[in-house]
Symmetry: C4
Subunit: 364 residues, 4 copies
């Protein structure tokens, strides 16, 4: 407490990275990153059963190789929410990317723009909304809102999101309080660098996750969708959906998108693997609104399976942050490019020329 | 035999304990406790398949996270057998708690009362019925009866239970003889301190489990329910239920409660996981009498899943005893508080405000 | 070849043994026994998948503990083929027991008789039929016939079996050639002591398994049942049944008993676990003839599960031979007594008073 | 690049090899072979999930031992595509066998001919078509075509295949680009010796797999079947089938055979195990054309299970190449003989006298 704490040393790397597979980056990051930061990024809730199952679940369905389909150079581009994407994957809204890199969300936004995709910026970013958008290359961005008990702060955030031209608001619905993450507890982890939007608004540095969540609005309700939507005139995605039982309610309440996610296994341990619930949710959505899928994607084949199970795009979380740590904006770009390379091979071997072809594929 | 055996040194700790998760306490206890005592407490029957499966079984069903349910500060209180509880968990009736702590059941009762729950006192306690009730803080208690062949001893116990104001009798039905616990056999374990009720009645110290069980009444029958009930005028729970086939019989014979348990995997190895049979039993009970569930609970999510599968409350066994060993009454309290903290998070993330909401939840 | 080989040193132990569980004996035996002999006894075919699965399969069904059934001192006795047995388990016909003990099958027969059960003597024993029966204590015995291409040798064996009063002939039907056991191949295992019946008939010592099997009759057919039956006037069991498709044929051909076994996983690797096929076979048999079950029994609960799935008695193989090695006749007795102790506990806890009660139990 | 690279040292062994089981050869090869070459031969795509599952899948079905079927000396011969085979297994068309042995495909062809089976020669062989056929012993051969973008090269290959009397063309349909094999990427593997047919045609040595595949025709289509068939007047097998959905199309397009394979788990990781899809494909084929099965065969019991699930013959890949490395032509012969020995035992124990009997067997 009375000890002078050395300033947190984040990565300053700026270069493309060589990737065998994106999961293998985790070990490299673990060897370089401060233990508490790594625990916060890589860890999950409690026994990490749901975290592990998020990965295992992709083995529950299989892609049948198909032959003689006259395929060449599969096309990974897609249109999502009226935005043309070069790849069917976008950035997941990861908090506190300053832990991974000095340039934090600015570099992530650059990397994501370079691959022709969408940046998702968290409320709990280490760069402000305006920094990230100015620092980016003008690619499309979504803003992820963690609603505060302080309505003024919510409006402060939404005002800026609107001002910088965010294309959608992602309402974080699965995190009205923080998951029980044991690594953070064991490491007595507190954020070593300020949450930029909170700081700009006048709050601060050196908080634990508990302190951050202390201001979170717990009483999120269906009405919040309309409030945000009306206030911003932007489409609202509800993020953290894991049950078909929530679908009708949120669509009727005005949601323009469903974001299937269990927060990368960081919230409710003992919940199902995210991929295991995707198909039943997609059936319930029945194409009324688009679906983003995340939690567990580490391979091109995972992306293929998610798209074939009802997702319109997938979001990439930890691997993107590992790329950020190891190579800055170019590292982020390398991660998306590697996943694209894997997906391209899978598409070719599965006889699918386009993202729409993937969506029509029946897994076995 | 001719060797002077040193007196058993039980823990005298009296303080709250820091808990990452309650299962992790087992390792701490193992490192401190006399080997034979630890083997007796932690071990299960034969290959410990049922013991392990008790834990694994909770992964057979999952809690779907739910969103935008307008939940805040979930309420863990419930009413059970007309008793108001602050939490939906009670003490399991663990024998020989003097192995864990010098104050044994007295401290457990204090800790349990402090968290607003029910103490269950075993026949084979190291503190007498009156010591435990006097030493406690006046919280509600149940008495667990292991019936003896000696009817006089049974009446001796029930007289006291009634005298001190016990709220119910738990008839141990799954232990007419001891399970085949190999750790006890390998450690040549005998109880180093007297079973207090036996001692008070005039029996003694230094017995092996076999000797203790030698006096157990094996010919337990449905009639015993009525006999106990008539003699005490107290509701009788039958503990050790694992089959729906027993339900009609025991309810018709006068049981006022069903206690689903496989004795923590200590009796019949090769039996099912306790959680795996809960739902079918609850369906058979069909709310005619309340249900207590135990065997394998180590997480708030386990409690949630048990309540959602038909239990009215759960009972906590080994983790409670570990808390007792590590911190006395306050350690017991810490264990229940930690589980409550986990359950609170689960309730919030699952969109359940009350214990009744949990009971209405459909697991996936 | 030109090297003088030291005579095989078999065990000469003669005392009861302390048993925690019978599977644990395997490690003790491995540490004492000559490597090739141990490999022959303990090993299975190829990848030993079926061998391992024989054990795992018992976890596919569970014994539901039952309560308040007024049970005391369960009765393990049963009647099998008109023979009164004290326990529902008999000796499996293990070959070459001289590898385990100098007294070989003589001691096994003594031990089995002492526990009130049936000895099964293999054609490939290291003691002759007459030695085993003279050396035994007069308990009932079955003779297991491996049919030879030499009809004269078959008659030589059956003549003796009849002469000494064998109660039944077990026709080995699953071993018209030897399984592909890699341990034997790696160890270049040959039998270090003569097959006594072959030696008496005039064949010999120092053969590999291949040589032994070279004389085996491969063209076993349904007609052999009647031939043996007519020649001996004894009931014929067909051993090695794993498919319901064989049942009608063998019963119509005159079999008086079905012996469900996959030879302890020593013959066809990639076949099902023996316990997994028992129930469907028992349904097909439909009580027309009695059923013996073996392959994988290591616990009282396994015996319980086999009886509840259609077996009339079970046969004990490797554990019995381990007992023989470690303690001679008394060691054999210890093994059966230990399994009886476990089964007694299981019966008590499952609310079953008799073997017939077990047979009526529905596993879950 | 400027460094003089030592010439690749391939094996020159020429002798039969002792085999416990063919999978165990992998470790022996690994200890002797250059790392990059071993990685190329043994490795699979990405996480190697499909590679491992190819083996595990055989445990999903079981061979029921059958008794008293009057079987002796099972007959492994079969007729396939009008060719008499002594065994129901043929050579899989493995590329670059010069990595394993100096005599490469020549020795393989000799070994395969010696066991009375069919050699399959890859486009990417290290010996030319004419070398392999001249060097062989005149046994039947199939030619595996990897179609090039260069139609002239395709015709060059087919002209020779026809000229040397190949009996069929295997159209590789699952490899329009290379799988994502991480071992090759980690080892920076390039082929150290020329692809003989490319070299003869005028292309070369020292290429990575990527370079090889750069010339591959990606736009393979159903029309290619007819083109090849018309050009060569030979039956065309389509290799790499994993989905029943492809069957009608390829048969209607003129395919005279279906080759069920996932390229040994080297192409699309996340696809099903090859054995798991065999039965549904065979049902769809419904005997209109013959079926070859490969990917994962390591045991006689695997061959049995594949034949019982609809295959007419199986193809042996890696184990054959391991035999080639360890013993040249005789090593190849040893591998097929060992598998034949295992299959013979399985047939005897399963009560099947002929390959047709196996095909009629129902697995359980």
């Amino acid at each position: 407490m009375g000890v002078t704490k050395l300033a947190y040393q984040a990565s300053q790397e700026e270069h493309s990275i060589e990737i065998t597979n994106v999961q293998a980056l985790e070990g490299l990051v673990k060897a370089r990153m401060e233990k508490g930061a790594f625990g916060y990024i890589a860890g999950g809730a409690e026994d990490e059963w749901t975290l592990r199952e998020n990965g295992v679940a992709f083995d529950h369905k299989h892609i049948a190789p198909r032959v003689l389909k006259n395929i060449e150079k599969p096309d990974l581009s897609t249109t999502f929410m009226g935005i043309d994407l070069k790849i069917p994957m976008i950035a997941a809204p990861i908090a506190a990317q300053g832990l991974a890199h000095e340039q934090g969300e600015i570099d992530t936004a650059k990397g994501v723009a370079a691959v022709g995709s969408i940046m998702s910026l968290s409320t709990y970013s280490n760069k402000t909304i305006s920094e990230t958008c100015d620092g980016g290359t003008g690619g499309p961005q979504f803003f992820q809102l963690y609603m505060s008990k302080d309505e003024k702060f919510n409006r402060f955030l939404l005002d800026q999101a609107k001002k910088v031209g965010m294309k959608a608001i992602i309402l974080t619905a699965d995190s009205t309080l923080g998951g029980n993450r044991e690594a953070d507890s064991i490491n007595h982890f507190t954020f070593p660098i300020p949450m930029a939007n909170l700081a700009e608004y006048g709050e601060g540095e050196g908080q634990g996750i508990a302190a951050i969540y202390a201001n979170a609005k717990q009483t999120l309700s269906l009405e919040d969708i309309k409030t945000i939507s009306d206030y911003t005139d932007l489409p609202v995605f509800v993020k953290g959906i894991q049950s078909p039982l929530d679908i009708d309610d949120i669509i009727e309440a005005g949601a323009k998108g469903v974001w299937v996610s269990n927060h990368g296994g960081r919230q409710l341990d003992g919940g199902p693997a995210s991929f295991d619930v995707l198909e039943s949710i997609a059936k319930k959505v029945n194409k009324r609104v688009p679906i983003v899928f995340d939690s567990g994607i580490r391979r091109g084949s995972h992306i293929f399976k998610a798209l074939a199970s009802g997702a319109d795009v997938v979001a990439i979380g930890r691997p993107m942050v590992y790329g950020l740590h190891l190579g800055g904006a170019q590292g982020v770009q390398s991660v998306f490019e590697h996943l694209s390379k894997e997906l391209t091979i899978d598409m070719q071997l599965a006889g699918t020329k386009t993202v729409d072809d993937i969506k029509k594929t029946e897994l076995i």
